[in-house]
């Protein structure tokens, strides 16, 4: 048997090493802060500490995302025996000051730009999948292990049968976090029961909803959590190979996942005999080529196999015939990231959070007209109002809330009257929206809802793969109607034709992209129909320059538009 690492030893060495530092400066190097200048902040901190000969007492740690993206670059200072301090909007000057006054001087910067530790943005969160995001270096296996990482895998491999692992997932009530909310344990059972020499587990990281980056953050801030979740899924279902499908637009996540896979292989946490138990499991990253539809599982599998990423008919379902004809299970990244916590701490702890039918937490990406944009992880069932007004800090510039869009281009708008709705699968669906993968776009009173519908329809039109008629041609024509209406030259009958076409596209499209493409139209019509009606002209009206362009690339300026 190959020698394996002792997880506790690794953790102890790591914790011991950390304890030698009086301060640790955790610099967010996730995508948001990096684009705001975090690399420079990190370099400045390191240079100043070297110059001050304090680099033996102070450690600078590049970390994942602490969530408050709109206030980046973010630097957290952890000091021995004291509350940690979170600095916001850190630039080069602020970095110099932090070194001088806090890391060397020993006290938080007087009058510094510090995020109060009790702000609702953090106080109302309940972190499971983001528990280590912003606290550990995603590129170091030791950091993950020091926080307790890979203990769930070790526990499962040594003391649980695969069936017991599935039972734990079942008892936790975990449901798919990719949007549809299918019970995760059901899927696992299907793969477990599927006959086959080879089986595959796939992590779906092809997140593509506008404004959503939950999975990106999980992957680039805590990649080992995804690997551990996949290994647990593989053990439970009998899979021997895993793929992480990540869109090419996430280079940092790809890089960190690949580094994490290499580290895990070296540590025998992946490979021919995981932790010396004889359980064989390997993971590869597959990079998508930038198609939204590849988040759909059959299209995703086609893409992994190197074929054109278009959906195919189901049945057969992936668990019957998936990658290269073998049984395959596709789970969302966030779903898998929940697994180590469920197996490690037991399903009861997980199920204690959330609502009757929606257990655990959900990560949301806050975007749009809110004071704090960023990532939050909240208990299922939290009222939308608390997310928007407490955590996100409400609408800036004294504007009124108009609607929140969840579920991206497949979802819908939730108007102000429903702000007290608990955020879970059932309630959002009842409102004509959906949980989706976790994008939450807040719109203020200045936003025109038909334009919102047009925006999402443009997205679906551009992302349609073209395989089935209703989605390929229907999204173009739905967009044309919406564009006409938005430009004030839509006639009453155009709205009727739009609605009937929306129904046909919903009922007849091949895959979820097409079936849900009309949702933003249905939802905005349900809650804001009067905004459409105000824009319509009589059927007898004819405005020759008014009709909409029929194809992308056609002229859209007033003079050239048809």
């Amino acid at each position: 048997m190959a020698a394996t690492i002792d997880l506790d030893d690794v953790a102890n060495v790591e914790l011991e090493a950390r304890s030698r530092f009086t301060h640790r400066a955790l610099v967010c190097t996730s995508t948001g802060c990096l684009s705001a200048g975090a690399a420079n902040v990190r370099a400045t901190l390191e240079a100043d500490l070297t110059e001050a000969e304090a680099d033996h007492d102070v450690q600078v740690v590049p970390t994942g995302c602490p969530g408050l993206c709109s206030r980046g670059p973010l630097v957290t200072v952890e000091s021995r025996g004291e509350e940690s301090t979170l600095y916001q909007y850190v630039d080069e000057d602020a970095a110099h000051t932090i070194v001088r006054e806090h890391l060397v001087g020993g006290a938080p910067v007087e009058g510094g730009d510090i995020v109060p530790p009790d702000i609702p943005f953090y106080a109302k969160q309940h972190q499971v999948v983001l528990a280590y995001a912003g606290r550990i270096d995603p590129d170091r296996l030791e950091d993950y292990v020091a926080e307790g990482g890979y203990r769930a895998l070790s526990k499962a491999l040594t003391s649980m049968t695969p069936e017991q692992v599935i039972e734990a997932i079942d008892a936790s009530g975990l449901r798919g976090r990719g949007g549809a909310g299918y019970p995760t344990a059901r899927k696992w059972e299907l793969l477990h029961d599927a006959p086959g020499e080879h089986k595959y587990v796939v992590a779906n990281g092809d997140e593509g909803d506008p404004g959503a980056y939950m999975d990106r953050t999980i992957m680039d801030s805590d990649p080992h959590r995804v690997l551990e979740g996949m290994a647990l899924a593989a053990y439970a279902t009998g899979a021997d190979k895993g793929y992480i499908y990540v869109r090419a637009e996430y280079p940092l996540a790809i890089e960190r996942l690949e580094r994490a896979i290499r580290a895990a292989k070296r540590a025998k946490l992946l490979g021919r005999s995981v932790l010396g138990t004889g359980f064989a499991f390997d993971i590869e990253v597959r990079v998508g080529a930038g198609a939204f539809v590849c988040g759909e599982e059959t299209a995703l599998m086609a893409s992994i196999e190197g074929r054109r990423g278009t959906p195919s008919l189901r049945p057969p379902y992936p668990t019957e015939r998936g990658l290269w004809g073998a049984p395959t299970m596709i789970n969302n990244v966030e779903t898998l990231a929940n697994v180590p916590a469920i197996v490690g701490k037991g399903p009861e702890a997980f199920a204690a959070v959330g609502t009757e039918t929606s257990k655990g937490t959900k990560v949301f990406a806050l975007a749009g007209s809110v004071t704090n944009t960023g990532l939050i992880e909240v208990p299922m069932g939290i009222p939308l109002r608390e997310i928007v007004f407490d955590m996100a800090g409400g609408i800036p510039n004294g504007k009124a809330f108009k609607a929140a869009q969840t579920g991206g281009p497949s979802g819908g708008c939730i108007p102000a009257a429903y702000l007290d709705t608990p955020v879970d699968y059932e309630h959002l669906r009842a409102l004509g929206s959906m949980m989706g993968s976790g994008g939450l776009v807040v719109m203020d009173e200045t936003v025109k809802m038909p334009e919102v519908a047009r925006f999402y329809m443009e997205f679906c039109r551009d992302e349609s793969c073209g395989k089935c008629t209703p989605c390929r041609a229907g999204t173009v024509k739905m967009y044309a109607f919406l564009d006409r209406i938005c430009r004030g030259v839509g006639r009453k009958r155009d709205l009727q034709h739009l609605e009937s076409l929306c129904r046909t596209v919903r009922e007849t499209s091949l895959c979820g992209l097409g079936q849900s493409a009309p949702n933003p139209v249905f939802s905005t019509l349900e809650h804001f129909r009067e905004e459409y009606l105000e824009l319509l002209v009589e059927d007898e009206e004819f405005l020759p320059a008014g009709a909409a362009p029929t194809a992308p690339g056609a002229p859209t300026d007033e003079a050239g538009a048809r």
């Binding site: 009958r493 059927d539 007898e540 004819f542 020759p544 320059a545 009709a547 050239g560 048809r562």
Partner: protein
């Protein structure tokens, strides 16, 4: 559009020629002896076949041939709609734009006009003045411009097709029953092209 029904008086029919080749009108003339039956049921009050200048009021049925290609087409189409109980989109150009709409793929009509009137004439090419009606940016099917009651596709619709649809319409209007259901129409009555 007048509200009276056709009972107690002769029906009035009209035809109109927009952006089309007049092939649909030729096909109408191909009704041959049926034209006599038609003349017994209705008066032809307007069209390229009459010498009437203004579109008259109180027309029961108007067959409109051709796509809407220029401003004159728009005005005539509107006059037809305002004065007709049952407007028939007559032939593929009216129904889909058809051949007339081929220029839509070429983009800016000003460029098209320049090519036709300036570049291509043998002698003295010049841009047309107000004699030529202004072209619309895009050729439109008739139903994009005015609401339509009955569609009769075909390039051109055959005489048999015109006969079947028109007689059904006139009989129904004469009986005061309004626009009849045309669900009976099969391949002979509906085919494009």
């Amino acid at each position: 559009m007048s509200e009276h029904n056709g009972e107690g008086r002769r029906l009035r029919i009209a035809t109109a020629w927009l952006g089309g080749c007049s092939g649909c009108h030729m096909s109408f003339l191909d009704l041959d002896e049926v034209l006599f039956d038609l003349a017994e049921k209705a008066d032809l009050v307007y069209g390229p076949l009459t010498d009437v200048k203004e579109f008259p009021p109180d027309v029961d049925v108007t067959l409109v041939e051709g796509a809407v290609a220029n401003q004159d087409n728009v005005e005539l189409a509107k006059a037809v709609r305002a004065n007709t109980r049952v407007v028939v989109s007559f032939g593929d150009c009216a129904v889909t734009g058809n051949v007339t709409s081929l220029r839509n793929a070429l983009g800016d009509p000003a460029e098209l006009v320049r090519r036709v009137y300036v570049e291509h004439p043998d002698i003295r090419g010049a841009m047309p003045t107000d004699v030529v009606p202004a072209l619309l940016p895009y050729v439109e099917a008739l139903h994009e411009v005015i609401p339509i009651d009955v569609y009769m596709p075909g390039c051109p619709p055959s005489a048999d097709r015109i006969k079947a649809t028109l007689l059904a319409l006139l009989d129904s209007l004469a009986a005061g029953e309004g626009i009849p259901s045309l669900d009976w129409r099969g391949p002979e009555d509906l085919r494009f092209g």
